[in-house]
């Protein structure tokens, strides 16, 4: 009798739980999971114009086409360069900034607030402001570099195939530094300071202190954040789309922007899905790694 009551109580609690999670979960399934699955499947089918209906199974036809597509190959190469440079620079500068903010001096709180600004500035605002700064005629960057005699004449930073990608990368690094800084700063502040005193007593050098105490203390956080940033950076769309649309002549083309343009400017939805899937495969390696790590830390 008691067992039966207990069971029915548990069932009622289960029903309550399912009712609570239903609305949120439903949205996630319909708007995040379904589009992902449907997108992957569509890359193996042909569809009538403007739809994703499965017309005919074409296997890896689109993938084969992409291997011949110079623009795609260019964008894949750019995306790898883009991700590696941005994440490394972001980590290096973010770490230096975090170390500087972890010291004790007057005005530290103000610096800490100011440093966060690029993170809060909306992507579109960052893109437009830097576009203005990069402007070939009136841009402040050309003015400063000319005043310092670093360049002879104005450069069309975003309009030249030589400099477009690099210029957007600088903007992306600028935007990405603050997040790394605060995450690393939080990790630095959780390091037990008595460790340093003990190490000093034992005659450890500054470099040994940094390597064995500081870096050891932020190692785990660093790896997780870098993984996450690799995924986010690879998928970054706003800056490139609004600054150059991948131009001039696709010199700054990256995978997410090319996916979007193929779908919504060239109206090749299935081919676009195939590009997206290839991007997902690249990110997937890091994603799986990240998920394994976050599950390990989670005591659910």
């Amino acid at each position: 009798m008691i067992q039966v009551q207990k069971n029915s109580l548990r069932r009622r609690r289960n029903i309550t739980a399912y009712l609570l999670i239903a609305p949120g979960l439903l949205l996630i399934l319909v708007i995040l999971v379904y589009p992902l699955v449907r997108g992957i499947l569509s890359s193996f089918f042909s569809s009538p114009q403007g739809s994703l209906a499965f017309q005919e199974f074409v296997g890896i036809k689109y993938y084969g086409e992409l291997m011949q597509d110079k623009i795609f190959l260019r964008s894949a190469q750019n995306s790898v360069v883009w991700t590696i440079i941005i994440v490394s620079a972001q980590y290096a500068i973010g770490l230096v900034t975090a170390l500087l903010l972890n010291k004790n001096y007057r005005g530290r709180a103000i610096f800490r607030s100011l440093v966060l600004i690029p993170w809060v500035v909306p992507g579109i605002a960052a893109a437009m402001t830097w576009k203005w700064m990069y402007s070939s005629q009136y841009g402040v960057i050309n003015y400063v570099l000319q005043s310092l005699h670093l360049i002879q004449k104005n450069i069309d930073w975003l309009g030249s195939t030589q400099t477009a990608l690099g210029s957007i990368i600088v903007t992306a690094i600028w935007k990405a530094i603050p997040f790394m800084t605060i995450v690393l700063l939080a990790a630095l502040q959780s390091i037990d300071t008595t460790l340093y005193e003990a190490a000093r007593v034992d005659g450890a050098s500054s470099w040994q202190c940094f390597r064995h105490i500081t870096f050891n203390g932020i190692k785990e956080v660093s790896l997780t954040t870098v993984l996450l940033e690799v995924i986010w950076t690879f998928n970054q769309f706003d800056l490139t789309y609004t600054m150059t649309k991948g131009g001039p002549s696709n010199s700054s083309q990256i995978v997410p922007v090319y996916t979007y343009l193929t779908a919504f400017n060239f109206f090749k939805l299935n081919k676009a899905a195939a590009i997206g899937v290839l991007g997902l495969l690249f990110v997937g390696i890091f994603a799986v790694w990240y998920i394994i790590r976050s599950n390990r830390g989670e005591t659910i």
Partner: protein
């Protein structure tokens, strides 16, 4: 001063110099944007640019507001962002409470799914979302855009709220249950008031997510009158001559509220937004 004090002073100067240089690099574009938006045409295109405007003018703001119809964009952005905040908070609170307090079958799957969605590439999702929304008539509607934004805000907000709920004592809720309080009533009367800081942080996160989002808005909204601020700004470029003054005014309009909100709620937001990564 002794030699030791000298090196210590030198070290301090070095730190100040280094942090000042980094801060300048990070803050300059923001100042340049505001400064440009307040300059008149002559000063904006002067051969020797001035750091701060010599004469402050609001012409660019007037032009942005009147000529470029930013009152539509601002209204739309406020509408969509507010709706996103309320709805996503409601859904993620329920979801987080369900995962935190109930031991149901499939709980781990739900949690893994939340983490997994954080890495889905939007540029792939948008293809199917666009086609599906077109089929069910959600294109060019604020409702459609809000639904999409809510879905993007829910996973992160849920994870953060769940870890907050995990840290709350369960006794109060048990007492409420004994007094005959239903689950939904318990959430509203007991849990939400205690979790107010976390809820506020996640509300702000959802608001900012919707406020600055670009790709969805660009794709799902077709008519000019329904556009949100980021797309409105992007549409000012693409003509042959870019009107930098009004453009920087519009850019300031989308940026300044977020910066103010952020500085005001800094403490909550930073803990909330970095927790996930640091915990890993």
């Amino acid at each position: 001063m002794t030699r030791r004090q000298w090196t210590s002073a030198g070290k301090k100067a070095g730190i100040y110099l280094a942090i000042s240089m980094i801060t300048f690099f990070l803050v300059f574009p923001f100042i340049w944007m505001l400064s440009t938006s307040l300059k008149d045409r002559a000063e904006m295109f002067a051969a020797v640019p001035s750091f701060f405007p010599k004469k402050i003018t609001f012409d660019n703001y007037v032009s942005m507001w009147v000529d470029y119809k930013f009152y539509y964009y601002l209204r739309n952005s406020i509408l969509v962002s507010s709706a996103t905040t309320v709805i996503s908070l409601l859904f993620s609170t329920f979801l987080a409470y369900g995962v935190a307090r109930f031991r149901f079958r499939g709980r781990m799957v739900v949690y893994d799914l939340l983490i997994l969605t954080q890495i889905f590439p939007t540029s792939l999702l948008i293809i199917t979302i666009y086609v599906t929304f077109a089929q069910i008539g959600l294109i060019d509607s604020h409702a459609g855009l809000t639904i999409a934004y809510c879905t993007f805000a829910i996973p992160f907000a849920t994870m953060m709220l769940k870890s907050y709920f995990d840290g709350l004592p369960i006794e109060l809720e048990e007492a409420a249950a004994i007094d005959g309080c239903g689950t939904v009533k318990t959430i509203f009367k007991i849990v939400l008031p205690i979790a107010a800081p976390a809820v506020a942080a996640m509300g702000l996160f959802s608001f900012i997510l919707a406020w600055q989002e670009f790709m969805m808005s660009l794709t799902l909204i077709r008519s000019t009158r329904l556009r949100t601020l980021p797309v409105g700004i992007a549409m000012m470029v693409g003509f042959r001559d870019i009107m930098w003054g009004p453009l920087m005014a519009g850019t300031s309009l989308v940026t300044v509220p977020v910066v103010i909100l952020f500085i005001y709620f800094q403490k909550y937001l930073i803990t909330g937004m970095t927790m996930g990564a640091v915990k890993g």
